[in-house]
Symmetry: C2
Subunit: 242 residues, 2 copies
Amino acid sequence: MGSDQPTAVVLLSGGLDSATVLAIARRDGFRCRCVSIDYGQRHRAELECAHAVARSMESDLTVLPLDLTRIGGSALTSDAIDVPKGRSEHEIAGGIPSTYVPARNLIMLSVALAFAEVAGAADLFVGVNAVDYSGYPDCRPEFIDSFEQTANLATRAGVEAGGVEAGGGQTQGKRIEIHTPLIELTKGEIIRLGTELGVDYALTSSCYDPAEDGGACGACDSCQIRRAGFEGAGVPDPTRCA
Amino acid sequence: MGSDQPTAVVLLSGGLDSATVLAIARRDGFRCRCVSIDYGQRHRAELECAHAVARSMESDLTVLPLDLTRIGGSALTSDAIDVPKGRSEHEIAGGIPSTYVPARNLIMLSVALAFAEVAGAADLFVGVNAVDYSGYPDCRPEFIDSFEQTANLATRAGVEAGGVEAGGGQTQGKRIEIHTPLIELTKGEIIRLGTELGVDYALTSSCYDPAEDGGACGACDSCQIRRAGFEGAGVPDPTRCA
């Protein structure tokens, strides 16, 4: 690949959505720098998956620790809150669940933005999805649109792109763009697209409450959404997901 | 103080602005939970000051590590970039300096938002200032306004306050508000106000490049702005600031 490729920063969790996003960003011609946050998540197994996914697509990965268990308030960051299991499709679709992590996507996008600015990248990719998802407020298009505006006001890159006077009056910046290529896709569509792009989903993990050996519980919302997604795509799930 | 006081989250750096903001939030009747980010800043001495300031105003402080030296790109987070010294007033006012830390205020506000959401607090206080400041994009009112919108779209609290259906259709949230009581004040006005409110500025630190014993360099932009501020307020600076 030539060095004239633009650089993108990709938020990689180790799950299937962000693995697909990385493949899309590469297809679109970006050299990708991946960022994961080790936030003390119950399912830290996903960070090993993030390394494997990045390696499989010849991309750098930086894992940055930020201990959100110090804040808690979510089944994913507090042992005092159980991960809901065996919920019906109706229950899953019914509101914001206890696995919502306060301000997580905002924090992760903000950190990714810092990486992007230092790397001279104007493009951030994130695998949020507002169709087959868990009702998280920070997966909705209106959040992403608002974050993009804020990102351009928060940074040197954004200000300089906007022509606001900065450092000697030069405008060298590029307007920051947040790419959410999955936001309107069903889980089945995501999996079909990723399969076409050669994503190895055996490397990914979706379970919120995996066993010590990394095996999926099969009963949390994320396992159920994943299972329905592979069924919808007509593709077998290559992982140990039940 | 009664337990019916509302809780506010205050971003505390250990500098004079955030110390003043804490005093203002307390004056306004809030019980304050302070948050500092240990981001590997060159001037980590300020974190000791943050502890002293919080103690002096009977407030909790949580210091959360997030190592922004892994990202770099700023004189405050990279040893490869020198802190500018002895710049003229014109130079200081002339653009975004190398002490700008990419996306720092966005990251810090996002973390503070997570704390606020878990604490059931709708009020965040931050000591940004757009008058006597260093030209940072993330100190401007337009950034804060945009962040406030994003914060309300990012969180359960914001969504529920907005009446969007959430968990059983209940709306228990409170709209998140970002308070920036210093944003239109000069440094001299800030110091006069804080002095009236009993802030002990001897506990604060402003220098970007302090000596190992914590003594201020007296020549960085922040030391110069501080010195001019105390002169403008007609108040002696009680610290070791040169």
